[in-house]
């Protein structure tokens, strides 16, 4: 990576670390990364309020707080940071209607509902927030087509669907979802090329192999996707020289699409990749180690 690229990606650095490490762990290669260096970096991202910024001296946000907690969980090292303060930070961001601000500037988005519930679940502190209200807000973002958007009224989008379905799964509230209607909306994301898009009439992108597939897995309907065609699309998006994955065949690779391409392949049953947990996008053996079980809908 060039100096310029390094600066340009500062705003998401800790998430980039999570994408890279998780991809390595899914391939059984986490040992090749420098654990001490990573832990030192992540520690330095925590603010006194408890939240994490994307890198040192950048403001805290829920997005980066989740990435940090995921990295620390991967390395079984939650003790290097002030976990209790993280809980306080997340609790402080929940609003009366159950939604969550991303940070103190007040943006609301169901992504932040997912970040909050996922963080707390990983730390075994889910009940620190008002889970019922959190569920109520997520459900208010359910649309006429069965999908979910970022706030009430926003268009259904596969990324938001993943966040909402994941949040509901963590909260034990998946039974609220119309699984048949949502499952069909998700299945419709598959285009003739085999790739998945994020909403109607948009281009396919490898990252939707994750958002769509994991959502289908959580609601017991992953077999509504043509697996062979999707696997072919993901594989075609791997660059033979660098080994990374891009958003679609022929484009430039990056860690984000590499992780979600591998995650998608894992959900499709590819044996070259470890089993991935569809709720947290982390290796299943990590969740097993910490004893975190989230019930999914039965396969139909």
């Amino acid at each position: 990576m060039s100096g310029q690229e390094y600066c340009m990606t500062e705003f998401l650095r800790v998430s980039g670390v999570y994408w890279g490490l998780t991809a390595m762990d899914l391939m059984g290669q986490l040992h090749r990364m420098n654990k001490e260096e990573v832990l030192h970096f992540v520690e330095g991202c925590q603010h006194p309020c408890g939240g994490f910024g994307p890198t040192h001296q950048q403001d805290p946000h829920l997005l980066y707080t989740l990435s940090a907690i995921q990295i620390l969980t991967l390395y079984d090292s939650l003790d290097v940071i002030d976990a209790e303060q993280v809980v306080k930070y997340i609790v402080s961001l929940q609003q009366e209607d159950g939604s969550f601000y991303g940070d103190h500037w007040g943006e609301v988005d169901t992504r932040f509902s997912f970040c909050s519930l996922a963080c707390l679940a990983l730390m075994g502190r889910l009940n620190a927030i008002n889970v019922d209200k959190a569920v109520e807000f997520v459900l208010s973002c359910m649309n006429f087509d069965g999908g979910f958007g970022s706030v009430p009224g926003s268009e259904s989008h596969a990324g938001q669907v993943y966040c909402c379905v994941g949040a509901l799964a963590i909260a034990g509230a998946l039974y609220h979802v119309d699984a048949d209607q949502l499952g069909w909306w998700l299945a419709e994301r598959q285009l003739p090329s085999g790739g998945l898009n994020g909403r109607p009439e948009k281009l396919p992108d490898v990252c939707y192999s994750w958002w769509v597939l994991s959502s289908l897995k959580m609601i017991g309907r992953i077999h509504w996707i043509d697996k062979e065609k999707l696997e072919h699309f993901i594989m075609a998006s791997q660059d033979e020289e660098t080994g990374g994955f891009s958003d679609r065949p022929g484009d430039w690779v990056d860690p984000f699409h590499t992780l979600f391409g591998l995650g998608g392949l894992s959900l499709l049953g590819n044996k070259q990749v470890k089993p991935v947990n569809p709720v947290f996008c982390m290796p299943q053996d990590v969740l097993d180690r910490i004893g975190l079980k989230v019930k999914l809908l039965d396969s139909v």
Binding site: I225, D226, K229
Partner: protein, 193 residues
């Protein structure tokens, strides 16, 4: 800053400028919804949606916006529903393979008895007779005949309707082979009725 400045109409114009360049921009639509809700600028929004749909009726964001406006103004009364069925049907006829217009039509009919809106069956049979074979059309026909079967007390007529619905499922497994998993499931549910 919008709240401080009170320049709601400027914000609305800004979102319109963005949507002119990128009609599906997620953030622009979200901001537009916030401005409209906060400053009650509902007037003229359906016309705005209509303009966008005329430019590109495959614009899913515009269909979503239509639902957003109606839900927050007149709501979907029986009269409004009949109107919206006619509106969606116009676009379904133009492009029977377009997902968005069908999703809108099915979405507004959720929880309704299709029996009360015979124009839906009429539309579907009209398109089928013209040899249109879109998976959305056939999927809707499955719903139509499934409902007719469940409303029927006479066993043999009930079976006739169930058979029609099942035959559409079989046809769908062939023509929409990417979604065989889904159509097999729908067929199993019919057989369990």
């Amino acid at each position: 800053m919008v709240e401080w400045g009170g320049s709601a109409s400027v914000e609305l114009e800004l979102t319109e400028k963005v949507l002119d360049e990128d009609a599906k921009n997620y953030h622009a639509w979200q901001h537009r919804q916030w401005v409209i809700t906060t400053y009650k600028l509902w007037d003229g929004e359906l016309e705005f949606v209509e303009r966008l749909l005329q430019e590109d009726f495959r614009n899913n964001s515009a269909w979503n916006q239509r639902h957003f406006v109606i839900t927050n103004t007149s709501s979907y009364t029986h009269e409004v529903l009949k109107n919206e069925i006619e509106y969606a049907s116009k676009y379904v006829r133009k492009a029977p393979n377009n997902e968005s217009s069908w999703n809108y039509l099915r979405g507004i009919l959720r929880g309704q008895l299709l029996l009360n809106y015979p124009e839906v069956e009429g539309l579907c049979l009209e398109l089928y007779a013209k040899n249109i074979r879109s998976p959305f059309l056939l999927g809707m026909l499955v719903e139509v005949f499934k409902e007719k079967a469940t409303e029927m007390t006479d066993t043999s007529t009930r079976q006739t309707y169930l058979d029609k619905a099942t035959n559409f499922c079989v046809e769908l497994c062939k023509m929409d082979s990417v979604h065989t998993g889904y159509w097999n499931y729908i067929q199993r549910k019919l057989l369990a009725l």
